[in-house]
């Protein structure tokens, strides 16, 4: 089973605050999933290439041209806090 410290470390990386009861629950839940996938380790995959794009497309590109968004207000209107037409965040320094 994953340790408390491991779950807290994962939660930190995932940017999710966990309460005491959560830690225990996710210790169990995550361990169940990790045990479930354990059998994959025994599969012989030597010489096999990973799947990264299943229909075989490679480097699809399009012209890099700027398009003017006509709905700046609509976009900013979704933010909990804006100031002078910018998204507002707390100071990080």
């Amino acid at each position: 089973m994953l340790s408390k410290e491991e779950v807290l470390r994962i939660a930190k990386l995932a940017r999710i605050e966990l309460g005491e009861a959560d830690v225990e629950k996710f210790q169990k839940n995550l361990s169940t999933v990790l045990e479930y996938v354990e059998a994959l380790k025994t599969v012989d995959t030597s010489g096999l290439e990973e799947v990264s794009q299943v229909t075989g497309l490679i480097n699809v590109q399009r012209d890099d041209r700027a398009v003017l968004a006509q709905n700046r207000e609509e976009i900013l209107g979704q933010a909990p806090e804006i100031k002078d037409g910018y998204f507002k965040v707390k100071a990080i320094l």
Partner: protein, 494 residues
């Protein structure tokens, strides 16, 4: 009227037997009446629907040909961005989110003057197979409202099955169209990966996500595929393969069609009635001239395991964007920026989303990447190769869409493996990007035997084709529906 096929609605609209406004009002009234039982919706867009219907009527009454979907009402899984209309992914973190843009699918449907009636419920961010992880509570199965409709597109399936909408958009990552279609007794199309644009469809696992549709017949689905499919500059993973005229090319002549029956898809623990109905459907296809042969897909058992790594990995990355800054739920009272992230996400996400985000974060973290993610993507190659080999021998594969009929609401709750097990017959095909259908093929008693539904509950027949092989999948489903009338049987809800 509530169960008319799209092809029939098109005729009635073109012949002025009914107007789009009348249709919209009819279905909105039905939603009002049945929604308390089914809880299929997150949002009903009555006002916009009536306005759109009026515009469609004006278009129909002016000279010229009408696009196939013009004036026809539909509902959209609440994962498709609809400009100015609340789009929640059934998550509290997007509770008040109104997208400033349309998904490509939404845009295409608008261009045909479709009429959106509302947004349907799903498992939160499509993480689940029962709609029970929705922040707004579960939807109910119209055949027996004490049971799950399946998921994640459970609201869409329930809405179509209950006659609340002629069709619905839906999405698959690993079974989220086929399984609810099967459990609700409707026809569902899971497209080839990249056949339909993902642009504006809230992302779950980007290497798997496939937007598709649920309707009353395969013929309707063929029309919908024409409306929804195609390359999109805004989704670079859409295929550069032309979209055939699926509906015009439909044929029920399947003489000589080679159908593989994968023995690994008939599990030991599977409900006997499900197995029987599917084998009866196979006999029906044989009667029409199809040749069946048993095929072996021994790596099927690894499908859900691969998925349980690949999907959470991509989820953890995709869901990082919900940070409480640009849109969505926020906790401004935090002490610093990190605190805003951590608290907003802690409050905004439900348990299943958190589980998947954290599973993904773990298997992608330093030291584990090779052992989990890389390994899973290699086993995925085995599955892809195995299907490719099978399609050298056969044209299509046929099997059940779900190992069981609908289970009781609540029985899947808090099982972190439920989705992976429920979708074990759908996930391998998803990992290989294959197109598939689920079509109703009869009824079976549930294992608990406790249902007022006389004959039992709907069973779904799954038809899987090679990549871009939509046409032959549709043809087989169409042929089956010419010979049977399971797709024309409806639950009694009054």
């Amino acid at each position: 009227m509530e169960f008319l096929h799209l092809t029939e609605l098109r005729k009635k609209l073109d012949n002025r037997e009914v107007s789009s406004s009348e249709l919209a009002k009819y279905f909105l009234a039905r939603i009002k009446k049945l929604e308390p039982q089914l809880k299929a919706f997150v949002t009903v867009t009555e006002e916009a629907a009536l306005k759109d219907a009026q515009e469609a009527d004006e278009f129909i009454n002016s000279p010229g040909e009408n696009p196939f979907l013009c004036g026809i009402p539909y509902v959209s899984k609440d994962l498709f961005a609809t400009r100015g209309i609340r789009t929640t992914a059934s998550s509290k973190i997007l509770d008040e989110y109104k997208p400033p843009f349309d998904a490509t699918v939404t845009r295409k449907l608008k261009e045909q003057k479709s009429v959106l009636l509302g947004k349907t419920n799903l498992d939160e961010f499509a993480h689940g197979s029962s709609t029970e992880t929705s922040a707004y509570g579960p939807s109910h199965n119209p055949w027996d409202t004490s049971r799950i409709p399946g998921g994640s597109s459970g609201g869409s399936a329930a809405a179509v099955a209950g006659g609340l909408s002629p069709w619905a958009t839906a999405t698959e990552t690993g079974g989220s169209i086929r399984q609810p279609s099967s459990l609700c007794g409707v026809s569902g199309w899971k497209p080839t990966y990249g056949r339909v644009s993902r642009y504006g469809v809230i992302a779950m696992a980007s290497s798997l996500d496939s937007p598709g549709a649920i309707a009353h017949s395969v013929e309707d689905l063929a029309h919908l595929a024409e409306a929804m499919a195609g390359q999109d500059e805004k989704d670079s993973t859409t295929g550069h393969v032309p979209v055939p005229q699926y509906s015009r090319n439909l044929t029920a002549d399947i003489k000589g069609l080679k159908i593989g029956i994968p023995k690994e898809y008939f599990l030991d623990g599977m409900e006997e009635g499900v197995k029987q109905r599917v084998m009866e459907a196979v006999k029906e296809l044989e009667k029409m001239g199809a040749k069946t042969v048993e095929v072996a897909l021994p790596n099927t058992k690894y499908g859900s395991l691969v998925y349980a790594i690949v999907a959470p990995s991509e989820i953890s990355s995709n869901l990082m964007r919900y940070d409480g800054i640009r849109y969505g739920h926020t906790v401004p009272a935090a002490a610093d920026l990190l605190g805003v992230y951590e608290k907003s996400r802690a409050e905004g996400f439900g348990d299943e989303a958190k589980r998947r985000i954290m599973t993904g974060t773990y298997v992608l973290s330093a030291g584990y990447y090779d052992a989990y993610y890389k390994k899973a993507q290699k086993v995925r190659r085995l599955i892809v190769n195995e299907f490719a080999e099978a399609f050298k021998q056969v044209d299509l594969l046929v099997c059940p869409s779900s190992p069981n009929v609908a289970i009781k609401l609540g029985s899947a709750k808090d099982n972190p493996l439920f989705g992976y097990i429920a979708d074990q017959l759908n996930i391998p095909g998803s990992l290989a990007g294959l197109p598939a259908l689920s079509v109703p093929c009869g009824y079976a008693r549930p294992a608990d035997n406790d249902t007022p539904s006389m004959d039992g509950l709907p069973v779904g027949l799954q038809i899987i084709g090679p990549q871009w092989g939509e046409q032959q999948v549709f043809n087989a489903g169409f042929a089956y529906q010419q010979a049977t009338d399971w797709h024309k049987q409806y639950p009694s809800l009054e």
